[in-house]
């Protein structure tokens, strides 16, 4: 079982509807379909991933979030809108959050924490943009054009009147660790947020 599924699955109501933005090979949706009886769609542009979704029996729609947006979906059409590890890669993460909560009653977002101590030390000691196991790209070829820290994200939520319903911080293997919980913005590599409207 993919590590983030463990955190996300309990937050998704049985037999509810789900939209998965950047659904990859459909693992999450296939899992939620099988174990929670959810209905839904995944949006993806990767060709291989789309074919893999089809193999898994996931309803996948080829759609470029940056180019086309989400105008083709109706307000409050879904119970949950999920975006795993993609918020930092879209052109306007702030607009994307608004859109997620326009389409869904709740949103679930995961992203890497740029405030993690390893990133900080990398920058301080080497004076170069951090690279790591979780952020393997170089500054010029990274798809992660809007990296942020937990603090940044939470500040944006406050600004936008977005309510953080739950937060789980995890280490690089998506294990929930009490160590990471002690000082998340410094010690946790990823966070999984459940958000809603105030």
């Amino acid at each position: 079982m993919r590590a983030d599924l463990k955190v996300i699955t309990p937050w998704v109501a049985p037999n509810s509807s789900v939209l998965d933005l950047g659904c990859g090979d459909g693992t999450l949706l296939a899992y939620l379909q099988e174990h929670k009886g959810v209905r839904g769609y995944g949006l993806e542009i990767g060709e291989e991933q789309i074919t893999e979704c089809i193999r898994k029996g996931v309803n996948v729609i080829q759609q470029d979030l940056d180019a086309k947006g989400l105008q083709n979906f109706a307000d409050q059409q879904f119970d949950t809108v999920i975006m795993t590890q993609a918020l930092q890669a879209v052109r306007r993460p702030d607009v994307m959050l608004d859109e997620m909560l326009r389409l869904g009653r709740q949103g679930i977002v995961t992203f890497p924490n740029f405030g993690h101590w390893r990133c900080r030390f990398y920058l301080i000691l080497r004076g170069m943009m951090p690279m790591s196991k979780t952020l393997p790209y170089r500054w010029y070829d990274t798809p992660n054009i809007h990296l942020c820290t937990f603090k940044d994200f939470e500040a944006l939520c406050r600004e936008k009147n977005i309510r953080i319903l739950s937060r789980e911080v995890v280490d690089a293997d998506f294990e929930q660790s009490s160590f990471a919980r002690m000082w998340p913005n410094l010690l946790a590599e990823f966070a999984v947020y459940r958000i809603g409207r105030k």
Binding site: R39, I50, T51, G57, Q63, A74
Partner: protein, 384 residues
């Protein structure tokens, strides 16, 4: 001629004919008292009769979708690239049915048939049949073949419209509908192209108001022109450019109006060949069926409302350079399906061939098509 029939071919196939004596009421208000449908089948129907796939043909297609009629056959069926053992529609797993639609000119009752009421050829008196009428007639063929529910109804272009219509008119009889390079309705531009084609035919002096059979002639020039204009719209700028560019047949310009460019020569060849093998009245009828198709019309123009009845899963496929039925038209359809809460997968294939891409087995198209069909076949096995 294929010296040796390839392993992944369905091999030699023989068309069959089914006669229907029960009158078929048509959308236009008329009734076909009796009619015949010619069809082919490939693969084996399983004991539970759950593995049947219906192939719906497009404007110029027919029942001969795969395999060869004889060893002397030069060309395989029109969708042989996608139907056969190990191909996307795998005949080792599916029982495939393809028929010539009513109004066609390849064996099913159409303008070239005898009108039982007059004893003469129908010609222009053959009633205009619509996509809905085709689907009704196909349902009767399914009854005869003992197929209660199709594992999939599949079609490209006008064939995709039939697949869509099936899912709306017989929702309980379709498990999957594959709507490829199609559209929920024609645009004004599409209709305009069709009208040019029809005008080319009807203004040919050999047309004789559609009664050219009695005059022992055919409106070949008109049909050729119609096909030439149609053919251009099926190809992309890139496809034509790549194939011909501005190549000349002669070393230099001839400063006249005879054929000089390769593309002209190609169009003439295609048009001429088509005018010898297709019936002008059928061409008129098929283009009208295209024009009239608009399942949302009965629901105040709301496509999501029209789709509400559907129970199947959909695969919608478009092609990037198709400007006849562009990806935007498919996206319109997908948007409505999502609004209606239907199960749908949508893929836009990057292919340079224009509308014709649905007939060409490019790698990604084949991969997506195969993956979807395989999923259907696997699900059938789980049930059994």
């Amino acid at each position: 001629m294929p010296k040796i029939i390839p392993d992944n071919s369905v091999g030699i196939v023989t068309p069959q004919t089914c006669r229907f004596m029960e009158p078929l009421p048509l959308v236009c208000g008329k009734t076909l008292r009796e009619y015949e449908l010619v069809y082919e089948t490939y693969g084996e129907l399983n004991a539970a009769r759950t593995n049947a796939v219906l192939i719906c043909h497009a404007l110029s297609g027919n029942h001969h979708a795969a395999g060869y009629h004889s060893e002397k056959d030069k060309k395989a069926g029109w969708w042989d690239t996608c139907i056969g053992p190990g191909k996307p529609i795998d005949t080792k797993r599916f029982f495939v049915v393809c028929l010539n639609n009513l109004g066609g000119c390849h064996g099913s009752t159409g303008p070239k048939s005898i009108n039982p009421e007059t004893g003469n050829l129908y010609g222009p008196d053959f009633p205009i049949v619509t996509v809905k009428d085709w689907v009704d007639s196909q349902a009767r063929l399914a009854d005869v073949l003992g197929i209660q529910k199709w594992a999939a109804v599949v079609g490209g272009s006008l064939g995709g419209m039939q697949a869509l219509r099936w899912s709306l008119d017989y929702p309980e009889r379709v498990a999957n509908a594959l709507v490829i390079a199609s559209t929920p309705k024609l645009t004004a531009q599409n209709i305009a192209f069709n009208e040019i084609a029809r005008k080319a035919i009807t203004s040919d002096p050999d047309f004789h108001g559609g009664r050219y059979y009695q005059h022992n002639t055919v409106p070949a020039k008109g049909l050729m022109l119609a096909r030439m204009i149609g053919h251009i719209t099926y190809l992309s700028t890139e496809a034509l450019g790549e194939k011909f560019g501005r190549d000349l047949k002669l070393p230099a310009f001839n400063f006249g109006y005879e054929i000089e460019f390769e593309v002209e020569s190609y169009l003439h060849y295609q048009g001429e060949r088509f005018s010898r093998s297709f019936d002008a009245n059928t061409y008129l009828l098929m283009t009208r069926a295209l024009d009239y198709f608009d399942p949302a019309a009965d629901f105040g123009g709301s496509l999501p409302d029209a789709l509400a009845r559907a129970q199947c899963r959909y695969l919608v496929v478009s092609f990037s350079t198709d400007w006849r039925f562009s990806p935007e038209r498919s996206e319109e359809l997908v948007e409505a399906m999502v609004k209606a809460g239907k199960e749908v997968t949508y893929v836009e294939i990057d292919a340079p061939h224009g509308h014709d891409a649905f007939l060409i087995p490019t790698p990604r198209y084949t991969a997506v098509f195969s993956a979807y069909m395989e999923r259907i076949a696997n699900a059938l096995q789980e049930v059994r």
